[in-house]
């Protein structure tokens, strides 16, 4: 048994999701990403003396919606608390977060890994404010000055903490994707890890298989993409296994993932861990959540990714894989269902979405799907043109590309460019005769049993008609005109 197989990984994830509210968590400033430094700030999110926070109701609503989607219990009474540490990107030197009384607790999320379903428990979900960003002049170690941009300071964050129920980096990755899909479906977070609107820290420990006791955990930070999460966790599991195999002990610490060097580096050990000195935020009264509000939000929850995947698969007769891809984003699933509505062969529509549309845009990006130049109706129209013989499937792919570039509807493109399929037997018969005459050698080969010669001849006819010839008619004509064996 190899070192890695002797151990079982125990992983818990802490996910921070930036909420897509119009204004910040505790003030009225905007939350747009990429605005000029400090242009979206006010005395409150700059932590100026005498300013006070006011809770953003919309952020609470987003938190509750997510909590319900994760089957959490929403606490009727919850509280904000101050978390203290000194860092120049945090204007008050404390972060308003939630500690002992979070917004929601005790949820779960089902994931599927290698065909088996696993229930991952959610420990808690709470709201907090984001910090600003530091910009150093040059390298951090040698920078002579640094600047602070408080645009992000006070942007609402939701922290979702799982129980240590994940057993492999792969499971962690699947869990994170499933969670992200829910956030995107709920339209509470755009899920963009590269821009930092979705962040993930992990707690990793190892134990001998069959052991129930938990090992010493290590916290991994700075994983800015799905790839990083998987790589960092694989690396950490490997590192811990090697350490244990050497008979050494795991040090409780925080390690940073360095994607350039593909390893983790120690940031601080337990002895230097922060004492955050949490205490209830005196500037905010306890947040009381009306159960009727919670019920109203529950009633308004959209169909969630897992349910939709199942329904799409069953309703349209698709494979798991197809349904999975089609429901990766709420926008894409809506697009597909709209395009397939009333169409007798939805599988064809699915193929077009999966093979052509997803070549053009990321299917999990609702904004990109919403901005798609081809409306679902036009995609259906294009498929209709194939069905009624107006164009061939091959031409249709060209038309699709043109539609995507110009936003035009398929019929206009076909008409303007004269792409209508030629099915006229006389007209095509002339072409076929010419091709047979020009390729006597190939015809000879065919007669001698070289059946692939037929494909070449079809190709030549297509070439001569710029692809507009109806393949069915061409095949029939060739069958008729080729000399019989």
């Amino acid at each position: 048994m190899s070192a890695a197989d002797r151990y079982e990984a125990v992983i818990g994830l802490e996910v921070h999701a930036q909420l897509q509210t119009a204004s910040k968590m505790f003030c009225g400033c905007g939350t747009r990403f990429g605005a000029a430094p400090n242009s979206q700030t006010c005395p409150v999110c700059q932590g100026m003396p005498g300013t006070l926070p006011v809770i953003n109701r919309r952020a609470v609503e987003f938190g509750i919606r997510t909590a319900l989607a994760l089957s959490c219990t929403v606490n009727a009474d919850n509280r904000f608390a101050r978390k203290h540490y000194y860092y120049p990107d945090m204007p008050k030197n404390y972060q308003i977060s939630q500690y002992e009384e979070p917004l929601a607790e005790h949820g779960h999320l089902a994931i599927e890994v290698s065909g088996a379903s696993r229930q991952i428990r959610i420990q808690r979900l709470h709201l907090e404010e984001d910090v600003g960003k530091l910009l150093h002049e040059g390298n951090l170690e040698t920078a002579q000055s640094s600047h602070v941009d408080f645009n992000r300071s006070g942007v609402p964050l939701m922290e979702i903490v799982s129980r240590p129920d994940l057993r492999s980096p792969e499971e962690a990755s699947v869990y994170l994707r499933a969670l992200r899909a829910i956030l995107i479906y709920l339209q509470v977070c755009d899920g963009n890890m590269e821009e930092g609107s979705l962040r993930c820290d992990a707690n990793v420990s190892l134990r001998l298989r069959g052991n129930r006791e938990l090992g010493t955990k290590v916290e991994i930070k700075n994983m800015n993409s799905f790839r990083h999460v998987q790589h960092a966790l694989e690396h950490e599991v490997h590192r811990q296994a090697q350490t244990l195999e050497r008979g050494e002990r795991i040090v409780q610490e925080t390690r940073l993932w360095d994607p350039d060097r593909n390893h983790t580096v120690s940031m601080r050990s337990k002895e230097f861990a922060h004492d955050y000195r949490y205490f209830p935020e005196p500037d905010l009264p306890p947040l009381q959540v009306d159960p009727r509000w919670v019920e109203a939000l529950r009633a308004s929850l959209p169909e969630l990714p897992a349910a939709r995947r199942r329904r799409v698969m069953e309703t349209y007769g698709l494979t798991v894989h197809e349904a999975d891809l089609l429901t990766q984003g709420r926008g894409l699933a809506d697009y597909f269902e709209e395009a397939a509505r009333g169409y007798p062969r939805p599988k064809i529509v699915a193929n077009w979405v999966l093979n052509e549309l997803l070549r053009e845009l990321p299917g999990d990006d609702d904004r990109a799907v919403a901005a798609c130049p081809i409306p679902p109706r036009s995609l259906r129209g294009l498929i209709g043109l194939i069905d009624d013989g107006t164009i061939s499937g091959k031409i249709a792919k060209d038309v699709f590309e043109k539609m995507y570039r110009s936003g035009e509807d398929p019929a206009s493109i076909v008409r303007r460019e004269g792409l209508t399929q030629v099915a006229d037997t006389d007209e095509l018969g002339t072409v076929v005769d010419r091709v047979l005459a020009e390729h006597g050698k190939v015809v000879e080969d065919w007669r001698n049993g070289k059946k692939q010669a037929l494909g070449f001849l079809v190709g030549q006819v297509m070439k001569a008609t710029q692809g507009k010839a109806s393949p069915a008619v061409v095949n029939a004509l060739l069958a008729e005109k080729l000399p019989k064996g």
Partner: protein
């Protein structure tokens, strides 16, 4: 003299045309220039802005459209309240040059009522203290005896009102910081219910205890000032959505039949006998006015001080964390890294008392100590509040001395614990979030003012004002004025800070 008039009389003269806001503002500014070098109540005088505001108020009166009872009335505010474009120091080196880009809600409301802002008043640094000796800049003197402290932390506000250097003032009270200096300086000091007045723009000391209130020449003025600033503010989530009654209109209803509780625990050992006698005499006055007195018990009073000195420093350690040299205020240059910049800035920017409380509070919140200190203090706080609730089942009002002693000499209380004991009778009121009113209730043989504290139910400020008004009408104490004019030579007359700044 115009500067001796209470706000309500000034307002009457403005309406009657016997005086103009312009001449009253000028009279106050002149008096500040002549006498404040002795009292040292002001950290900043906004002379030009005040004259401009007074002129606009005058124009409103001329046009027959005054804004209300505070229109044209010269007011000053404690330097812990943010004023747009006017330096707000909190009595600290760390904010010595801080100019807020916003007004505190109370300042905004005063401006909206037409009040003329004379300037910013001295205080103990970040409102931590009971003598104004902890101001980083200078100590304010008690107008009744310039060798004595005015109390604190709103010492500048109390002294300014007592010396007629402002018609009225706003202070803040976290553990007695309005009522104690009010008592020491012989003026009315009113701490409203927690949540009655917005804290937005009040630079926080202890967020769960801080409350803004007036220091005034008489009870009616206190009612007018509170009226102007009270009420729910969407910018302060802890401000209460409780209707604000017409305070001045309720003043004259009398106290016939009012049930007044006398807490034995507030007549503590070591109390100045003259204070005790004055308080007993005041109780007799209330009885003569028709009040029915009875003893009440507030058994957890003695633990209030200890609980307060954990809760307030804990919150302060958090609230003051933002003063780090990064964004505004003092930054001590020359540090090699950020941690050194923090330490140098905070070491140079904070005074000893602030450092003491930040350390106390940091300790009380630390892992492993939280339950024993902060947690336990919160439980004591609940018990102290419950004492009051039970007492208010039987009485409408509680009466006690405001302080156990009268104004002490500058430098007399060097031991911090001795200083803390000053607030032993005011702190339980803050812990319980209740309103407390201090009214002048006599003088010692040496001529130092004594204060009587009236404590009411939450949001029942009207009751306190009514009782205070009845008492005041029946006694002469509020009429006496300190006779310090020219009693001491001017002390150089030089402010350690430029006396004016900005346009209000």
């Amino acid at each position: 003299m115009l500067t001796e008039l209470p706000v309500h009389e000034l307002a009457a003269r403005f309406r009657g045309g016997q005086a103009t806001p312009g001449e009253v503002a000028a009279a106050y500014l002149e008096r500040i220039e002549t006498l404040d070098p002795q009292v040292r109540a002001y950290l900043t005088v906004t002379r030009e802005a005040a004259l401009a505001q007074a002129e606009r108020a005058g124009a409103r009166f001329k046009a027959g459209r005054p804004l209300g009872p505070l229109d044209g009335v010269p007011i000053a505010v404690k330097d812990v309240l943010c004023t747009r474009a006017v330096r707000t120091t909190c009595g600290s080196r760390i904010l010595e040059h801080f100019v807020p880009p916003y007004d505190a809600t109370v300042v905004e409301r005063l401006r909206a009522a037409g009040a003329v802002l004379l300037g910013k008043l001295n205080m103990d640094e970040f409102a931590m203290g009971s003598s104004t000796e902890h101001s980083a800049f200078f100590t304010t003197r008690n107008p009744w005896d310039l060798a004595r402290v005015p109390g604190g932390s709103s010492g500048g506000a109390a002294a300014a009102v007592a010396a007629d250097l402002a018609a009225g003032a706003l202070g803040t009270d976290t553990g007695g910081s309005i009522r104690q200096p009010g008592a020491f300086c012989g003026v009315v000091g009113f701490k409203p219910t927690y949540g009655r007045v917005s804290r937005y723009g009040l630079v926080a000391f202890a967020s769960s205890l801080d409350q803004i209130g007036p220091l005034a020449k008489d009870v009616e003025d206190a009612a007018l000032l509170l009226q102007a600033v009270a009420g729910r503010d969407p910018m302060d989530s802890t401000s209460a959505d409780v209707p604000v009654p017409d305070y001045p209109a309720g003043l004259t209803a009398g106290i016939e039949g009012l049930r007044v509780g006398i807490p034995a625990e507030y007549f503590i050992e070591g109390m100045d006998p003259e204070v005790e006698r004055a308080t007993q005499a005041a109780i007799e006055v209330l009885r003569n006015l028709g009040a029915r007195t009875q003893p009440v018990s507030l058994p957890h009073t003695e633990y209030g001080l200890a609980a307060y000195y954990l809760i307030a420093p804990a919150e302060a350690s958090s609230n003051l964390a933002r003063y780090d040299g990064v964004k505004y205020g003092l930054r001590v240059p020359g540090a090699r890294d950020i941690v050194e910049m923090y330490s140098r800035t905070r070491a140079a920017g904070f005074g000893a008392e602030v450092k003491r409380r930040v350390m106390l509070g940091t300790y009380a919140l630390s892992a492993g100590y939280y339950d024993a200190y902060y947690g336990k203090a919160q439980r004591v706080r609940t018990l102290v509040s419950r004492d009051f609730q039970q007492a208010f089942d039987r009485v409408d009002l509680i009466v006690a001395p405001t302080t156990p002693n009268v104004a002490f000499k500058m430098g007399e209380k060097e031991d911090p614990l001795q200083m803390y004991l000053n607030d032993v009778l005011t702190i339980p009121v803050n812990l319980s979030g209740l309103p407390g009113l201090s009214v002048p209730s006599g003088f010692t043989q040496t001529g130092l003012p004594i204060g009587l504290q009236l404590i009411g139910r939450a949001f029942d400020e009207a009751m306190l004002l009514r009782a205070g008004y009845a008492y005041e009408r029946a006694t002469p104490w509020h009429e006496r004025k300190p006779a310090f004019d020219g009693a001491l030579p001017r002390e150089g007359g030089r402010f350690p800070l430029p006396p004016r700044e900005g346009e209000g």
